[in-house]
C-alpha cells in the first residue's frame, strides 16, 4: 500500500484574494492605458528618451575628444544611443493621430528625430574613420548632435507646455 498524503483542500481565503488582485490588475492597466494613450504623451516620452540618448552621445564624443574614452567604447556608446533614438522614432511613426494638431505634433517629432539619426550617422562616421580623408571629424559629429539636441529641446518644451 502506498502511503499517499491526501490532497489538501483548497485554501479558504484564496478566492477573495484572487479577486482583489484582479481588481488591482485592472486598475493598474487602466492607469497604464490612460497614461500612455494620446499622441502627445507618446511623442513626449519618445522625445525625452531620444534627448537622453543624444546627451549620452555628446558626453561620449566629448570624452573621446579629451582622450578619456577608447574608440571601441565610444563606438559602442553611440550604437546603443542610436538604437534608443530608432526605437523612439518607430514608436512615433506607428502612431495614428486623429486630429490635425496631433498630426502636426507627429510630423514635427519625426523631423526632429530624423535630424537626430542623421547627426548620429555623422558622429558614427567620425568615430569609425581614422582621422584621414574626407570623413567628418568628431567635432563635426558633436556640432550635428548639438543641433539635434536643440531641436529636441524645443519640441520637448512645446510638448511640456501643452
Amino acid at each position: 500500500m502506498v502511503l499517499n498524503t491526501p490532497a489538501s483542500p483548497p485554501l479558504r481565503g484564496s478566492r477573495p484574494r484572487r479577486r482583489l488582485s484582479v481588481t488591482v490588475l485592472c486598475a493598474g492597466l487602466a492607469v497604464l492605458v490612460v497614461g500612455c494613450s494620446g499622441v502627445s504623451g507618446s511623442v513626449a516620452s519618445a522625445v525625452k528618451d531620444s534627448s537622453s540618448a543624444v546627451a549620452t552621445a555628446r558626453l561620449a564624443l566629448r570624452q573621446d575628444m579629451e582622450g578619456k574614452l577608447t574608440r571601441a567604447a565610444t563606438a559602442t556608446t553611440l550604437d546603443d544611443a542610436l538604437r534608443e533614438v530608432d526605437t523612439g522614432r518607430s514608436t512615433v511613426q506607428k502612431l495614428s493621430p486623429a486630429t490635425r494638431e496631433d498630426r502636426d505634433t507627429q510630423r514635427q517629432a519625426l523631423e526632429a528625430l530624423d535630424a537626430c539619426a542623421a547627426a548620429f550617422a555623422t558622429a558614427r562616421a567620425a568615430v569609425s574613420a581614422d582621422d584621414v580623408g574626407s570623413a567628418p571629424t568628431t567635432a563635426d559629429g558633436d556640432r550635428a548632435l548639438a543641433a539635434a539636441q536643440d531641436a529636441l529641446n524645443q519640441l520637448g518644451d512645446k510638448a511640456g507646455g501643452t
Partner: protein, 134 residues
C-alpha cells in the same frame, strides 16, 4: 479514540519516528555520504486501501522508501502501478537523522538508474568528465 478491538501497540524500543516529519522529503545518503535521492513516498505492508480489516491484524510495517514517478503522483494525485515504483528496502536504512542514511552503496540501487544513464550516455562522454576538480 482507542478501541478495545485493536491490538495494543507493541512496546516501543528505540526512537519514535513520525513518517511525515522525519522521513518524507528527507535526503537519502548512501553509506559513503553520496546523495541517492529524496524520500518521495513510503510503502507499508498490510491490507489494501478500503479492505475490511479483521480483528487481530498485526499493525502495518514500513517496507520500503519510494522514489521516482511517485513524486509526481504525490503532488498531482493518483497512484502509479506497483511495478513502476522504485523501492529502497527499509532493511537497507542504517540511520534516520536530519538525513536518511543507507547502509549500502548507492551505485547499484534501482533508485540510481537515471543518474547512471545520464552519466554513461552524456556526462562521461564529454572530455574531462572524469577529471577530479580537487
Amino acid at each position: 479514540m482507542t478501541s478495545p478491538d485493536l491490538v495494543p501497540l507493541p512496546p516501543v524500543a528505540g526512537r519514535i519516528l513520525d513518517a511525515q516529519l522525519h522521513l518524507l522529503d528527507r535526503q537519502v545518503l548512501d553509506t559513503d555520504g553520496v546523495p541517492v535521492t529524496t524520500v518521495d513516498d513510503l510503502e507499508l505492508s498490510g491490507p489494501a486501501l478500503g479492505e475490511e480489516i479483521p480483528v487481530g491484524t498485526p499493525a502495518p510495517v514500513l517496507d520500503a522508501l519510494l522514489t521516482g514517478p511517485v513524486l509526481g503522483t504525490r503532488i498531482f494525485g493518483g497512484r502509479p502501478p506497483s511495478s513502476r515504483l522504485i523501492r529502497i528496502p527499509w532493511k537497507d536504512v542504517a540511520d534516520v537523522g536530519v538525513v536518511v542514511r543507507l547502509g549500502v552503496r548507492g551505485g547499484p540501487l534501482d533508485a540510481g538508474w537515471v543518474e547512471r544513464w545520464v552519466r554513461d550516455k552524456i556526462i562521461a562522454r564529454i572530455p574531462g568528465g572524469r577529471h577530479d576538480p580537487r
